[in-house]
């Protein structure tokens, strides 16, 4: 079976769910090989094997993680040349897409970003124009480089050999031109990463102010969800800009999206329309967001949302 390279997302060896999703998807396309960059393989290897990695290529070199994007693209280009895989899968994050772009140029390959599905013959499904159009695309030149949105595949274990081999790469001077001199972590608490979360609870203009987001956060915490915000809310300064869901913010595609006090302007819909299940709470029955709702309540979010949070607490107890 053809080899499929999967670039593993992890934090110091703690493997992210997105990597398990890609390994699961890769199994339907060929034989998955995990590419693990950085330290922590001893804690990651068992998980990668459990989710189907036949090979694990380990590149633990500080130069690979100490510079912006380019070194990872060089490493992958080297592996593409050596292994001739059938495709390379990368998570569709900001950095993942940049790695894919540079890899495509280096390897002479076509690139597809933001796939929500990939079929066995490597046809990728994308949702474009704010979710209004579905396209089927295929790379026609070189080794297909495809970035896949988080939550596109449900991770399923399927143990494989997970044979480890170390890979070294001689980086070009260009690859180390942008040096990371400091990493600054901003407190975000225990909530999951917005673009990867399985459940997202978001608030918009109807939340009314920064203090209103407490209600949104409580509901999010009851579900182990990430918090999002519409542009109206972030522009008003009620919630930090990095939580903005929409065309100029993050694109999310969770299993469950709960929109509270959000009207559903195209700006916002472009960032959440591919969510699997959508719940809406809004006091305006004419709000266009109701068109997307699987279940909607016309009502005051300050009454409905706390009641929902309490009820979830009771049912989980």
């Amino acid at each position: 079976m053809a080899e499929i390279l999967v670039l593993v997302d992890h934090v110091d060896g703690s493997v992210k769910k997105t990597a398990l999703e890609l390994l699961t998807l890769a199994r339907s396309l060929g034989e998955p090989s995990a590419v693990f960059v950085g330290g922590g393989i001893d804690s990651a290897a068992a998980t990668l094997a459990e989710y189907g990695a036949v090979n694990i290529y380990v590149a633990d070199d500080a130069a690979l993680t100490g510079h912006v994007v380019a070194p990872k693209a060089e490493l992958l280009a080297q592996l593409v040349a050596e292994k001739s895989p059938a495709a390379v899968l990368i998570t569709s994050s900001a950095e993942g897409k940049e790695i894919a772009g540079r890899l495509a140029v280096k390897a002479g390959s076509g690139v597809i970003t933001d796939a929500v599905a990939v079929s066995a013959d490597l046809v990728a499904t994308q949702s474009i124009f704010g979710g209004s159009t579905i396209v089927q695309s295929k790379v026609t030149t070189g080794t297909p480089v495809i970035t896949v949105r988080p939550n596109s595949t449900a991770p399923e274990a399927a143990p494989a050999a997970g044979a480890r081999s170390d890979v070294s790469v001689a980086l070009s001077p260009v690859a180390t031109a942008a040096k990371i001199v400091d990493r600054v972590e901003e407190a975000k608490g225990a909530r999951p990463e917005l673009s990867e979360a399985a459940v997202v609870v978001s608030g918009g203009r109807g939340v009314g102010g920064p203090e209103g987001f407490e209600v949104i956060e409580k509901l999010a915490d009851s579900l182990g969800a990430a918090v999002g915000a519409s542009r109206a809310a972030t522009d008003a300064g009620w919630y930090p800009h990095q939580y903005q869901v929409g065309q100029t913010g993050k694109t999310v595609s969770p299993q469950l999206y709960i929109a509270n006090g959000i009207s559903g302007a195209i700006q916002h819909r472009a960032g959440m329309q591919t969510s699997k299940t959508i719940i809406v709470v809004n006091k305006d029955p004419e709000a266009p967001i109701f068109e997307l709702a699987d279940y909607g309540v016309v009502g005051d979010l300050f009454e409905v949302v706390p009641q929902l949070t309490d009820e979830i607490g009771k049912r989980k107890a």
């Binding site: 912006v68 690139v111 970003t113 089927q136 942008a178 600054v184 909607g296 009820e311």
Partner: protein
């Protein structure tokens, strides 16, 4: 400091975008064009750096004839000159070909900084800045929400990440992309709009830039749209009016769907 800011004319967010059934590329004739919103931040950042370092700003755009509107907008904000890569042979170019054409035109122009918006609101791939950095062999400083370029050959940014930000340093020349909210883009003044009419805009064809026609355009794309269709309408959901038990009703639905 010589700064080139790359901008794209895109369909207005509010307009209905469609794919052309023949070429399966965006039908740009049927919609109103505007400057890509995120590029306004790139233009503003370029102008701020140029003002602080007595630099000059050239605005570059690749696209059909109407892209001159977007170039003029950047000029009216304060950019000094424009470059328009204009050739029918470019129509339908994918990101690979677009980055090639932009890089070819930038080669030999001696730009210290090349600044982009972090994505276009139409294609939303967010890969062109990284690809141009790759092709030009210069530092990639992308997703910046802070840029320090004092004009001494050094440049430092804050690169937004999932966990916060990375502080990244490099020497010029460098490719930068900026995120929304890095600054407050200025509005063109009346004086700026009048002055923009007299500013030079160089039009460059494929032949002028030494780009082989076979390497760009729809025919040269390394990926293709096999088919497309309108997204299936979401099945109409259940909408209820809150009668004091709206929260409980949502909880019931979430239980049914096995979310709780």
């Amino acid at each position: 400091m010589k700064i080139v800011v790359c901008v794209k004319q895109v369909p207005d967010t509010w307009s209905e975008k469609k794919l052309d059934p023949t070429t399966k590329t965006l039908d740009r004739d049927s919609v109103d064009g505007v400057m890509n919103e995120l590029d306004e931040y790139a233009v503003e950042e370029a102008l701020k750096i140029a003002e602080a370092t007595s630099g000059e700003v050239t605005v570059l755009s690749m696209g059909p004839a109407q892209s001159t509107e977007t170039i003029r907008k950047a000029l009216s904000m304060g950019a000094d000159a424009g470059i328009h890569i204009l050739d029918d042979g470019l129509a339908g170019s994918d990101a690979i070909a677009t980055s090639l054409a932009i890089s070819k035109v930038l080669e030999g122009r001696g730009a210290d900084l090349i600044i982009f918006g972090s994505e276009s609101t139409d294609a939303r791939m967010s890969v062109i800045p990284a690809m141009v950095a790759e092709r030009l062999g210069v530092a990639q400083l992308t997703f910046a929400n802070k840029v320090e370029a004092p004009g001494d050959g050094s440049v430092k940014i804050h690169r937004l990440t999932d966990y916060g930000y990375d502080v990244v340093e490099a020497s010029t020349p460098a490719v930068i992309s900026v995120v929304e909210k890095i600054n407050e883009p200025r509005y063109p003044s009346f004086k700026g709009i009048m002055a923009a009419k007299k500013k030079p805009v160089e039009t460059i064809t494929l032949a002028d830039a030494g780009i082989e026609a076979a390497t760009v355009g729809l025919g040269a794309a390394w990926s293709e749209v096999a088919e497309f269709a309108a997204a299936p309408a979401r099945a109409a959901g259940t909408i209820v009016t809150d009668e004091g038990n709206g929260g409980v009703k949502i909880a019931d639905y979430l239980s049914e769907q096995k979310f709780i």
